[in-house]
């Protein structure tokens, strides 16, 4: 093993290969608060990549209801339990001032074993702790859809009166959108004894070489997010390919410019923004929407950072879910992220407008000031809304989108209001 820096954990960690970051990193921000679980993303994925034989059970994109739902069933419960290791690995975070570092440890310091470190601590004969989900676990991708967790789930007790009060609902669920995280330190890649999995230097996309794969299912076993899948029909494994032809700009629609992945571009709830992070995480570009949301404003957080793979899909956590649960899922950055999201700054309000306005990947944004249109108070904090204009540019500098904070409204002609 070598020592590599994982900025999600705020420390170096053990990994079987040297730190070798890509020039740019495929990334996405998912705003959980806005997802309506329409599964359009899931179907966009399915009809593009996994519609043929042996892929019936494969959903490279899936949306599951938390806390009970999961595809494969209970994947996160199972990994957390493995990582918990009967309490020997409590997965704590240190968040005092000296444990934080603006660039190298923005969320604090993780003081526990990652999936790689635990495998070593326990002397396992593999790179990371993990398991292979069986047939039944893959079978119901949307099991427990809309099933809420409640403090008072027992019928004998009275229903919680305040169940829908913020900051935390007593009865809650939320949708978690999941694709392969194209991790900086992929466990799938570490696990593969054939080195059939590689991470592209140009955009950080993680792929399984279909020629080298021999169907050993080591990636299926050791990816904590359970995103590589074994295809019985061809006896080898497949995984999300980040729609790389689109990312490369091969689709003629965007005229050679990078294009968002299918699941991103299809999102009805406008919760997704897909782009490339600057490779050097210590020097984020304040004008790149990905860098800004993730590194600078820190409103979007990695999923289960304690696993140690440095995943690259970032989530704006749901406002209403219990903080303890969210901290377990997104790390200690949750409180800051939610403070910022609940009472958004002028800049955040503008950047959030960029979500799902164009298929072209945006690599730069500018904001033009507008007049103040609204003022309010959210949980004791003053919120002012300005009708600013946000402009998104493709990497070649072309202006792709120009949108105002206040949505234009239309009043229909009276003649069209006839009721029969």
């Amino acid at each position: 093993m070598t020592l590599v820096h994982n900025w999600h954990l705020g420390r170096t960690m053990e990994y079987p290969y040297f730190e070798s970051r890509p020039k740019q990193q495929f990334a996405a921000v998912f705003n959980i608060n806005r997802c309506i679980a329409c599964q359009t993303c899931t179907m966009a994925h399915k009809s593009t990549w996994t519609y043929s034989k042996g892929q019936e059970y494969m959903w490279w994109n899936n949306v599951e209801t938390k806390p009970y739902g999961g595809y494969p069933q209970f994947w996160d419960h199972k990994i957390l339990q493995l990582l918990w290791d009967n309490g020997n690995n409590p997965m704590e975070w240190y968040t005092s001032a000296e444990d934080m570092d603006e660039k190298k440890a923005p969320y604090g310091l993780y003081n526990g074993d990652t999936i790689f470190e635990l495998a070593k601590t326990k002397g396992l004969n593999q790179m990371a702790v993990g398991y292979i989900p069986d047939d039944k676990e893959w079978r119901f991708p949307n099991i427990y859809e809309d099933t809420a967790a409640s403090e008072k789930i027992n019928y004998e007790t009275e229903a919680a009166k305040e169940s829908s009060e913020l900051p935390e609902h007593k009865r809650w669920f939320f949708y978690l959108q999941r694709i392969c995280n194209h991790c900086t330190y992929p466990a799938c890649l570490a696990a593969c004894p054939r080195k059939a999995i590689y991470k592209r230097k140009e955009d950080g996309i993680v792929l399984i070489d279909q020629k080298r794969c021999r169907g050993y299912r080591k990636c299926v076993e050791q990816c904590p997010y359970k995103k590589p899948m074994y295809r019985g029909e061809t006896r080898i494994s497949e995984k999300c390919i980040a729609c790389y032809p689109r990312i490369e700009g091969k689709d003629p629609i965007t005229k050679g410019r990078r294009m968002e992945a299918r699941c991103m571009a299809a999102c009805v709830g406008k919760i997704r923004l897909n782009g490339l992070l600057t490779g050097d995480y210590k020097n984020p570009d304040p004008k790149n929407p990905m860098d800004w949301l993730i590194h600078i404003h820190k409103v979007a957080l990695p999923l289960y950072p304690q696993f140690g793979t440095e995943p690259n899909v970032y989530y704006i956590p749901p406002r209403w879910a219990p903080r303890g649960y969210l901290r377990q899922m997104f790390g200690p950055g949750v409180d800051e992220a939610l403070d910022k999201y609940a009472a958004p700054s002028r800049e955040l309000m503008a950047v959030l407008q960029l979500f799902r306005t164009t298929q072209t990947m945006l690599s730069r944004f500018e904001i033009e000031d507008g007049e103040k249109i609204y003022e309010s108070e959210v949980m004791g904090k003053k919120v002012e809304v300005y009708n600013d204009t946000v402009i998104g540019y493709a990497s070649d500098g072309t202006e792709m989108v120009r949108i105002k904070v206040e949505e234009p409204t239309w009043e229909s002609d009276e003649k069209r209001m006839i009721t029969y």
């Binding site: 093993m1 070598t2 079987p16 290969y17 040297f18 070798s20 990549w49 519609y51 043929s52 034989k53 042996g54 019936e56 004969n125 593999q126 790179m127 292979i132 989900p133 069986d134 047939d135 893959w138 696990a191 004894p193 054939r194 080195k195 230097k201 399984i208 279909q210 020629k211 794969c213 021999r214 169907g215 050993y216 299912r217 080591k218 299926v220 074994y230 295809r231 019985g232 029909e233 061809t234 006896r235 080898i236 497949e238």
Partner: protein, 316 residues
């Protein structure tokens, strides 16, 4: 023109730097493997004698009765990640040749027959034989890994697979999803003619599969049960463009009985060549599917065995 070339060289250099980094990563990860013991470079004394017997595949069983078996003790693979195995303790090998073809017989105990690898939890039974690609001397002074060969020390591997064997006997030479899931066309479907409809939808679109596009032998009917491969160390196993080895295996009463055979000499430079009268080495490994054995999770012998190929005895 010159300018273009110059640019190219700049690109090549900038590409090779990350490549170099990548490679150092690979080398480093291999540094993880435990050092092999000196003993591993001392082949055992007792050889397997491949007798000359004027026989062929059809009467191979009788021929094998005439030769003494070499019993090889197996152990878990404990050097390279991922480790594993240990459930199969012994393998019996016999060999003969008829002047044209070399036959090996491999027998081992396995209470379960695992001859399918379609669901996530299914792993196949398999057996492998390995030969140095070239004529070599093996000693502590001239080491040669008895595991997967090494850089500059290529090996030729013959890998018999139980599912490939079974597929030799099914229609089309390949098992599909519907063989594992016979109800797949109408599960969860309340249409009165689901079978017909779903099947037709499935069959009306071409199968989109990386495995098929890249032509890997695992993903298609290949008409043989043994894969012909090369390796130069852990993680380097590569299937050959020319497949020359065949096999025949059967499981009975808790025992696999497998024959693998190939012409003594082939025109393929990636194949080990067997000239009657010569001496070389071989090693073996067994995979027990029910235990989840695959790749480095296997039952191995950690010493090379001498292999003596008898000269052809012409009848007067």
């Amino acid at each position: 023109m010159l300018k273009k070339l110059l640019w190219k060289s700049v690109i090549i250099v900038s590409v090779s730097v990350p490549l170099l980094l990548n490679y150092s990563g690979i080398i480093l990860s291999q540094g993880l493997e435990k050092e092999a013991s000196v003993e591993e470079n001392i082949p055992t004394k007792e050889p397997l004698v491949v007798k000359y017997i004027d026989s062929d595949l059809n009467s191979a069983d009788k021929a094998f009765e005439q030769v003494d078996p070499l019993k090889i003790e197996l152990q878990m693979q404990d050097l390279a990640f991922p480790n594993g195995g240990g459930s199969v303790k012994e393998l019996e090998v016999r060999g003969f040749h008829n002047g044209e073809t070399i036959f090996f017989n491999l027998r081992w105990n396995d209470v379960t027959k695992d001859e399918r690898a379609i669901t996530h939890e299914q792993f196949r039974d398999a057996v492998g034989m390995m030969f140095p690609l070239e004529i070599v001397t093996i000693s502590p002074e001239t080491p040669f890994s008895p595991r997967m060969g090494d850089r500059g020390k290529p090996v030729n591997i013959w890998h018999w697979k139980a599912d490939w064997e079974k597929e030799l006997h099914v229609a089309g030479g390949f098992e599909h999803m519907e063989d594992e899931y016979p109800d797949m066309w109408h599960d969860f479907d309340f249409d009165p003619h689901p079978d017909y409809f779903n099947k037709r939808v499935h069959e009306s679109i071409p199968l989109m599969a990386g495995g098929i596009a890249t032509g890997t032998l695992l993903s298609k009917a290949r008409g043989r049960s043994v894969e012909d491969l090369n390796a130069i160390g852990f993680g380097t196993l590569t299937s050959q463009a020319h497949q020359d080895v065949k096999g025949k295996g059967a499981w009975k009463n808790g025992k696999w009985d497998v024959v693998v055979y190939r012409p003594l000499i082939t025109p393929d430079e990636n194949d080990a060549q067997f000239v009657p009268g010569m001496e070389t080495f071989f090693n073996v490994a067994v995979w027990n599917g029910v235990e989840g054995d695959r790749n480095g999770q296997k039952n191995i012998s950690i010493r090379w065995r001498p292999l003596k190929i008898e000269i052809v005895k012409y009848k007067e």
